[in-house]
């Protein structure tokens, strides 16, 4: 089976699962008894194993297999979660990460067997379980546990399949029609790598000869490789037992197939549990041909299922998806395709608007035409909105790996610290979210290593022993701000300057005249590092200048605020290059402008008589506050359409503590707009932070209230 075409999906999903495992194991550390977490971990580990197996990454599969065993024991309550175990698990995740990286780079998992880890996992297993229970670890893997003893059936495991009423009826019906009801047990060779694929071929071979009524484990589990070395089937066939056996044996890497004609009078009595499970599964096996991918596809509708089973299926279908990974609900799309889609939608809107004006000009505007155009209008608007939203993702996907990282740092640095995150739901364009991870990681490490003091020193200074690092994200006007803050030592500018002199970056004379801010900026100088000891956490002197250039590449900026002894904060401002904001559209002269709703305080209706002059500047008084007035038409060089004696429409905006009143001609309304850059070519105009394409295809400029104040 050629699996290379699934490599992308495999890598993406592995990442997702690893991320998920990281998060879950972290929370497991907090609450070791949370069953939901344990189940989630188990599921993720299991999926990883299945995927690695299908792709033929044996080492990865082995490691995950052993991890899964441990989780399974935890789930059964045989092992209690301990700190040492969590550490081992994290190491395993790192090892898996390494495999993943290797695969991404060379399409090969590498040669590291990670035996020490596997040994440790087994130690955990054996340390806690009694001799007999180890088998159960294996058995639990199969969610529908098969009875352990096989002695009396002589390997004829199909006899263990529990039949429900409906299946039994189907079998009896078939037998009445003169068909053979056969039971089969297929044993796969131990050396077989792609068991699921072999099983699939067996299924296919048998389906050519008859119909599979039941299987154990279920078809879904077999497809996911949730079986050891054998599986059993009950089939209805026109062909003889011999024919079916030969067909099944013809599949390579199958050790043996044993089978017999079933005696329907002596099959095990109907068991309700089995009856519930079974019909939903049968439908899966009729069409496994469509789902050889490592991704479990949604259940294909049963094509050949007997009418009797159909009635039950409806109810069962609801149950079935619960077992499947949630990833099925998303589709991965190349971002370029989204760009194309977005542009096409804009084109569509422009075309629609031309249609509107064309029908108005030609004078043929009958009610039906108008109705249809209005309908078209609402469809294109929603289409536009949906496409724009598709590109935005919460930064959560990037920042969720940080708690784990801080936990590790805590151990390596021997400091006590806690990471507090907020605003993970803040949305940014997908490309920016992908890029922002590394710079943030650098900053967090920097805070942990250089910022926070050791526990003893903190105690001396009267601070809580556990240092705090904050990661906060929020939208501020046209920017998304991500702030990394710590309550550590802050930046010692004196030390920074001395270091810079030592490194020959500045001369002592320069240092004397340096402002606080300039000194801090030295930190971003390439090859600068104040750490006295080069640790593997930070202090290689590559961190901060890389951070800065990376952020600037995303056309953002980094700002540092620091107070010696109290901590420092690193503020990253990223423009919403492709972000959607709520904006107030206003008319000034004949032009339309957008003002970000985030910066707007209030909107006031002011009589011209209430405008006072202070130091030859216009101000208004608003609830005991004196607010300067800014006449936008003057700043933007437009002729106002308004009568000077009319009341003024004033949009009050704020920047920090400062406020200002922007005078506009008229308000148009609130609108969700996409921010587009004006490009490098028009960068001189500071008061314009970007442009947006309006619904009618026209471009409106976005005013940056911050620069106006």
């Amino acid at each position: 089976m050629d699996v290379s075409q699934y490599l992308e999906i495999f890598l993406d999903e592995t990442n997702e699962h690893l991320q998920n495992l990281n998060t879950q194991i972290l929370s497991l550390e907090q609450e070791p008894d949370n069953m939901d977490t344990i189940n989630e971990i188990f599921r993720a580990a299991h999926s990883l194993k299945g995927m690695a197996g299908t792709m033929g990454y044996k080492r990865m599969q082995n490691l995950t297999h052993d991890m899964e065993n441990v989780f399974s024991e935890v789930r059964n309550g045989n092992i209690t979660v301990k700190a040492s175990m969590i550490d081992v698990l994290f190491q395993c995740l790192d090892a898996l990460e390494e495999y993943n990286t290797n695969i991404r780079e060379n399409a090969d998992e590498g040669t590291n067997d990670n035996e020490p880890l596997i040994k440790e996992l087994n130690l955990i297993l054996n340390g806690e379980t009694d001799d007999g229970e180890e088998d159960s670890a294996e058995a639990v893997e199969e969610e529908v546990a098969a009875p352990a003893s096989t002695g009396d059936t002589g390997g004829r495991k199909w006899l263990e399949i529990k039949l429900g009423d409906s299946e039994l009826n189907v079998l009896k019906e078939a037998s009445k029609q003169g068909k053979n009801v056969l039971g089969l047990t297929v044993k796969v060779q131990e050396s077989c790598i792609l068991k699921a694929a072999r099983a699939f071929l067996v299924f296919k071979a048998i389906e050519e000869n008859g119909e599979i009524i039941m299987s154990n484990p279920s078809a879904q589990d077999i497809e996911d490789e949730k079986f050891e070395l054998d599986f059993s089937l009950i089939i209805v066939s026109d062909a003889s037992l011999e024919q079916v056996l030969t067909a099944a044996r013809s599949v390579s890497e199958i050790e043996d197939v044993i089978g017999d004609v079933m005696d329907l009078d002596h099959v095990s009595a109907p068991v309700h549990e089995a009856a519930k499970e079974a019909p939903a599964k049968t439908e899966q096996e009729t069409k496994p041909a469509e789902t050889p991918a490592p991704v479990a596809a949604p259940a294909a509708p049963a094509a050949a299922a007997k009418p009797q089973t159909k009635t039950k299926k409806k109810a069962d279908e609801k149950k079935a998806p619960a077992n499947k990974p949630v990833v099925n609900r998303t589709v991965r799309v190349d971002i370029e395709k989204l760009d194309t889609l977005m542009n096409l939608v804009s084109e569509l809107i422009i075309a629609k608007n031309s249609l509107v004006s064309a029908s108005a000009v030609s004078g043929t505007s009958s009610t039906t035409v108008n109705e249809q155009i209005e309908y078209l209008e609402s469809v294109t608007t929603s289409l536009h909105e949906s496409v724009m939203k598709v590109r935005m993702v919460p930064i959560e996907s990037t920042v969720s790996k940080f708690p784990r990282m801080v936990r590790d740092l805590q151990k390596t640095l021997g400091k006590k610290m806690e990471l507090y995150m907020s605003g993970e739901e803040t949305e940014l364009d997908r490309t920016v979210v992908d890029e922002i991870g590394d710079p943030l990681m650098h900053l967090l490490r920097n805070s942990a290593d250089h910022g926070l003091e050791s526990a003893e020193l903190r105690k001396e200074r009267g601070k809580p022993e556990v240092g705090s690092i904050f990661l906060e994200a929020y939208q501020d006007g046209n920017n998304v701000v991500i702030e990394v803050r710590d309550d550590g030592n802050g930046i010692d500018t004196e030390a920074v300057r001395n270091k810079a002199i030592e490194k020959g970056i500045i001369t002592p004379e320069q240092a004397e005249n340096m402002s606080e801010k300039d000194s801090i900026d030295l930190l971003f100088h390439a090859g600068f590092s104040t750490a006295k000891v080069v640790s593997d956490v930070s202090g290689r002197g590559v961190g901060l200048d890389v951070v800065k250039s990376k952020i600037e590449a995303l056309s953002g900026e980094v700002e540092v605020k620091s107070k010696l002894g109290e901590g420092s904060s690193w503020i990253i401002r990223l423009p919403l290059t492709l972000a959607i904001i709520q904006a107030l559209m206003v008319d000034i002269g004949n032009e339309k402008y957008a003002i970000s709703l985030g910066s707007i305080q209030t909107i006031e209706d002011i009589s011209p008589n209430d405008v006072k002059l202070v130091e030859a500047k216009e101000v208004i008084q608003l609830r005991d506050l004196v607010i300067p007035l800014i006449r936008l038409n003057r700043i933007l060089d437009i002729e106002s359409k308004k009568d000077p004696n009319d009341n003024l429409v004033v949009v009050v905006v704020k920047k920090g503590d400062k406020q200002a009143g922007l005078v506009v001609d008229e308000l148009i309304g609130q609108q969700e707009i996409v921010i587009k850059s004006l490009g490098k070519y028009i960068s001189k105009c500071k008061i314009i932070s970007g442009a947006t394409v309006l619904g009618d295809g026209e471009v409106a400029l976005i005013l940056d209230a911050n620069t106006l104040i």
């Binding site: 804009s346 004006l678 490009g679």
Partner: protein
């Protein structure tokens, strides 16, 4: 613009009109030619920057070559076009021209490097003169046309 190539090689130019004079723009820089449309003015920028337009969802700056070269301001007519240029240094940018005439292929020996005695301020925008069917085409040096005023 790059060094003009060895003799025998040809370059294609789009011939445009500004007033009565014909200018040539190397076809490899041209992304698109669109009709005149509403240009959204951007305040506080140089006068030759007319504003921005929406080209299939992209916001693209538009400049007036006429104003940049010190000619009379543009008068919009039926034949006015915006030529969308893609330049490495400046990205995508639109320029307004009075009319787009044709595409010509010039042999390199039909192109004469600009002589120094031509008008001082004009020289800086041209990279050569093309001779074609008796007419003369001033070949625009796009990078200096687009370059911001110091």
């Amino acid at each position: 613009m790059e060094e003009l190539k060895v003799v025998g090689e040809t370059t294609q130019f789009i011939v445009i009109k500004l007033g009565d004079e014909q200018y040539g723009i190397d076809i490899k820089y041209i992304d698109n030619i669109v009709r005149m449309q509403h240009i959204t003015r951007v305040p506080k920028v140089d006068t030759y920057l007319k504003g921005v337009i929406n080209l299939r969802g992209e916001v693209i700056p538009v400049m007036s070559i006429r104003i940049k070269m010190g000619l009379e301001p543009d008068v919009e007519t039926k034949s006015t076009r915006i030529i969308i240029l893609k330049l490495e240094q400046h990205g995508t940018i639109g320029v307004i021209v009075d009319e787009v005439k044709e595409v010509v292929t010039l042999e390199n020996d039909q192109i004469e490097k600009i002589a120094y005695d031509s008008k001082e301020e004009m020289r800086s925008f041209l990279c050569g003169i093309g001779k074609c069917d008796g007419g003369l085409i001033s070949l625009l040096d796009l990078n200096s046309v687009v370059l911001e005023n110091a």
